[in-house]
Symmetry: C2
Subunit: 252 residues, 2 copies
């Protein structure tokens, strides 16, 4: 049984706490947050504290805090040579205080407090400096129930970067679709099955093979009709840039 | 029972034929294509022809052909005052020859020959010039099994435009994610659950509410680290433009 102290009370921390709760290989023995009120509702399930000097002696300390807080908080953990991990896609593993054994458990998923997360669908990318720490990180990652993958720093960095494209930027394209349809009193809801199918399609087909539409077909008539319809200059810029990108990918 | 002659043998035509086959309100009595070989495999199920002058007398003619072929083909149908519909998102209903009653059945979905389509998940947008034709178009659309929605020309046009953003452009972002991960030997497959979750999230939440990430957080450190990682100039342009778009949407 691996004992864990969880630090932080944001979306991911809460999701992690709930996921570990259901697993018998891992026990969250204490939950720390700098303000107690966000975790008091869990005080019957786990010891809670807002005093970093009162952290319990545990096998692993998981820093589920904002990127900016990771380095400072890791230095304040009142132990040495403990396994300390953060869960960020973008922060260097060496940013953790060097008095610790250091690692990263990066869950490649989007978390909102409202949406419950099924961790069996979340790949956990494992990074470690000291090879000897890998088995315990692997056990923690597997305890969450989804696929696990060992990565190096570069791979984690590019996965995080690629995640911005396929998640944040994609979501902004949905937002633009929303604005465009609403502006003419059309229903954005009609696009939802298409959005889902677009995401499903590439589960078994490369995005290259899955591409369709006027840009790929070099259908100048439709492209210029679309540009005429667009009133927002930035929407036009996005249309032109992504059309060009598709045409570069698919040749002329 | 509505009798239908189907014209064209592309992805959508084939999917339509299969969907109508299972319905008892609609009977496809003939399938036309300018070259027979793409439809000969169906000759035991339906009469086929490559001679436009031999088109059967039917209630409705469905032009499931490329945008460029719609106007010319509609003028060659050797009947008058028949209900003739196309299925394109971008072509004007008035482009159909005016000797006919005219309409549009626009399925808002992405079609590839490889992927089978569940029409119960495909909204059909119905447009008609003559109100009297609406009931028969509605019956045809409902026969496909999914939601149906009456739209006007403007609404259909913006739905098609928005579909390019949420489908083609989104798919290109997946492609860029693929390129970025492969370039560092990371696995694109690790991003697939995130891609699916991003699409699922907005089924019950607005894209505005669903947004997360460094652009929305104005996390300058992460943004500049990402820009440094990007080697492809166009990928950088896309990163900058969509980051700016997110920040315009979410204020500063």
């Amino acid at each position: 049984m691996i004992s864990v102290v969880l630090l932080g009370a944001g979306n991911v921390a809460t999701h992690l706490f709930k996921a570990f709760k259901t697993n018998s290989d891992v026990s969250v023995i204490q939950w720390y947050n700098r303000t107690l009120n966000s975790i008091t509702s869990y005080q019957n399930e786990v010891a809670i504290t807002d005093n970093i000097n009162h952290l319990a002696d545990a096998d692993v300390y998981i820093l589920a805090v904002s990127d900016d807080a990771i380095a400072r908080l890791s230095s304040k953990i009142p132990y040495e040579d403990k396994l300390v991990v953060h869960i960020s896609g973008s922060i260097n593993v060496y940013d953790l205080d060097k008095k610790h054994k250091r690692g990263v458990l990066y869950p490649l998923q989007t978390f909102s407090k409202e949406a419950t997360i099924d961790f069996t669908e979340v790949p956990i990318c494992i990074e470690t400096i000291d090879k000897a720490c890998y088995p315990i990180l692997k056990t923690l990652a597997k305890a969450l129930g989804g696929p696990t993958k060992r990565v190096n720093s570069n791979q984690r960095r590019v996965l995080h970067l690629a995640a911005v494209y396929v998640n944040n930027f994609t979501n902004q394209l949905y937002r633009i679709g929303h604005e465009i349809t609403e502006s003419e009193g059309a229903e954005f809801d009609l696009l939802k099955p298409l959005i889902l199918e677009t995401a499903k399609k590439i589960q078994n087909m490369s995005p290259y093979m899955a591409q369709t539409g006027p840009a790929k077909r070099h259908d100048k008539k439709t492209i210029s009709a679309h540009l005429k319809l667009l009133k927002n200059e930035q929407h036009k810029d996005i249309y032109n840039l992504l059309t060009d990108s598709i045409q570069k990918t698919h040749g002329s």
